[in-house]
Amino acid sequence: DAGITQSPRHKVTETGTPVTLRCHQTENHRYMYWYRQDPGHGLRLIHYSYGVKDTDKGEVSDGYSVSRSKTEDFLLTLESATSSQTSVYFCAISESGLNSPLHFGNGTRLTVT
């Protein structure tokens, strides 16, 4: 494990409620990412960050927002959860944006009922 902690590990919430997932790293890496994993789709990028307060959208960013106020923390917020956002969410970090591998956390399983 590359010093990445995701919380919570599991969450069940109702449609329309806000949800925030947290990713905490101890590696002091500049880049942080949020992916979701769904059957038949693999891993899809939601948002990423290339520094404190610097974020950008990924492939599937609609309905999600992120914030990074400290190097070690990257938050993913679902403003109003929908059933289509039921998924497993993975945070990843990398040392640089070039050809350095991503290291993933163990995921958060989110169920929206």
């Binding site: 990445i4 693999g42 990028l45 990924g58 050809n99 163990n106 995921g107």
Partner: protein, 111 residues
């Protein structure tokens, strides 16, 4: 449109034999390719990578081959072991810096 495709959802191999996992991509701007392995209830872990300036990279039992003209890469595992049973994702990165993943292939290695 899926830019990185793994067309085989699953693969079953006997222990000791070779496992070959395949991946196709459509974007000619991709210049860096990676393979990840994922066990249940864990995050993906990096396995091996290859730059577009190479056509082969080897690390122990794992070898990745890149055929740029065919836009195809493959992962060879020799010999396969039961502990290799996992989901394997290929991924590609281009000039946007974003890593695009395939759908994954579930490998089962039978003892």
């Amino acid at each position: 449109d899926q830019q990185v495709k793994q067309n085989s959802p699953s693969l079953s191999v006997q222990e000791g034999r070779i496992s070959i996992l395949n991946c196709d991509y459509t974007n000619s701007m991709f210049d860096y390719f990676l393979w990840y392995k994922k066990y249940p209830a864990e995050g993906p872990t990096f396995l091996i990578s290859i730059s577009s300036i190479k056509d082969k990279n080897e690390d122990g039992r794992f070898t990745v081959f890149l055929n740029k003209s065919a836009k195809h890469l493959s992962l060879h595992i020799v010999p396969s072991q039961p502990g290799d049973s996992a989901v394997y994702f290929c991924a590609a990165k281009g000039n946007t810096g974003k890593l695009i993943f395939g759908q994954g292939t579930t490998l089962q290695v039978k003892p």
